[in-house]
Symmetry: C2
């Protein structure tokens, strides 16, 4: 047999996988093995550290359920989720940001100008803007699918006895690509920190707070859908969001609504504040 | 706020952890984040690949139990366990190899010359040698803690109704550092491949077989203990062990025992074959 040592083992492991030459799987796997082995050699990993790392993954697995995916949370707090969002943002399109764990793909429809908050306490916020393509043309009929936490930082889906479809809605843009609705201004909240990822945050003296945000998936025919979040200027944690979701281009200005102010569209509920955000979609493919 | 993008996010994530300057934890964490982010950028990871990777970890967590640690198995098949063993082998000492999942630290004592097989079917093998320090001095009283699969490739601990302490024993070396005992020649076996790691092996057209081996932990006063495995020349899978446990220096020659052959020590059972292996321990610290 050929001797393997701490340097030649990397090629030996790669060669042990009989993967299709030039395939994406081969590339993903081999590059992963290179980095894993390089990391191990660079830090001169001890057996105790190795076992600590594996037990951390084991603990992440134990606390995970279909509703509590600790590995996604881990990916979030080490900036991996944000990095993947950044890599996959198309030039000219609105920047992507975290999908998060609370999306449901069958949210009810919300009429243009409707109130998503349905009587919830908090600041009534008008959210409006235009869905456009990267040349500036409006995209009539675009679907703005939104979900969010309430005025105390909780998603209805997290609370026993609440309707999980609350604070979720799909809005269809009008003939000029405009969307507008009112909702309650969300509050910041913490990511779950009662598990292994919480231990990691504490070990690194990090907080678990997310800056307040609205979630969006925006779709239009023949355009690449975008998953993103909208944040608000000068709000808490905007500079140190626990999952690195904030981008400068995703921060909207919160402005008070004057008593005399009139809007070029009809609203179900009079807002206290407003913010404008235009979504830009790139073509498919 | 400072804008972060796919290049600056790596430093931002590292800075979010408030870890002690110069600490081992800081070094392990920052080097990990560097490699994770570099990998993600190098392969231009898509959202589908990202989710596939996280679901793979989720599945590893779901199948894991205290007796079935899928993350250790994953570490084994991508050569990480072997690499950590190699990195931690001390110069001049016997090379380390996989601990594996079946070790029990409270194995019964086995007298020098005793038979570990206790009447099991198979080839009776004499295992003998000297435990020495790296200068060649014998280490009297060294403890040779061994465990192994049987003549059909099964560990008693895996089989319902069998004594989990079978085929395990702690042997104390004599005044000249010699150890000797008989046992049954083990057979190759497969690592568990009914879980996500099995899926990975199949995707890479890899088999799940381990070359036949004996496990050892050897300890002596003031010496660094070694965890290793002993393999046999010209046996199956010696060139493509599924967990990369084989090293040239850990392969012993299997030799037939002649009818007339006499041994310089007393044995409980007459062997059919023999192999010699000396263990070399480095000083502690």
């Amino acid at each position: 047999m050929a001797q393997i040592n701490q340097f030649t083992i990397t090629e030996a492991v790669k060669e042990s996988f009989q993967t299709e030459e030039g395939s994406r799987f081969k590339f993903l796997l081999e590059t992963f093995i290179d980095h894993l082995h390089d990391y191990t050699r660079e830090v001169n990993m001890t057996h105790e550290e190795w076992m600590g790392m594996l037990m951390f993954l084991y603990d992440c697995g134990k606390i995970s359920t279909p509703e509590r995916h600790e590995f996604i949370l881990l990916s979030d707090v080490v900036g991996l989720s944000a990095l993947v969002d950044m890599i996959n943002t198309r030039g000219g399109a609105t920047e992507g940001s975290n999908l998060g764990p609370f999306y449901l793909d069958d949210a009810p429809e919300l009429e243009l100008g409707g109130d998503l908050a349905r009587g919830r306490d908090g600041t009534t916020l008008l959210v409006h803007g235009i869905v456009r393509d990267s040349l500036g043309n409006p995209l009539p009929g675009a679907i703005v699918d939104t979900w969010q936490a309430d005025g105390s930082g909780t998603y209805p889906i997290q609370e026993h006895g609440q309707d999980k479809y609350d604070l979720r809605g799909k809005i269809t843009a009008d003939g000029e690509g405009r969307y507008y609705y009112t909702t309650v201004l969300p509050k910041p909240y913490t990511v779950p920190y009662d598990g292994p990822v919480g231990r990691l945050l504490r070990a690194g003296n990090r907080h678990a707070w997310r800056a307040a945000h609205l979630h969006f998936i925006v779709r239009a025919e023949k355009m690449r859908a975008i998953t993103t979040e909208l944040f608000f200027e000068n709000t808490e944690y905007i500079d140190n969001d626990a999952v690195f979701g904030v981008r400068k281009s995703l921060i909207a200005k919160l402005e008070p609504v004057k008593k005399s102010e009139e809007f070029p569209f009809a609203l179900e509920k009079r807002p206290d504040a407003k913010c404008r955000f235009d979504f830009v979609l790139a073509p498919e493919g």
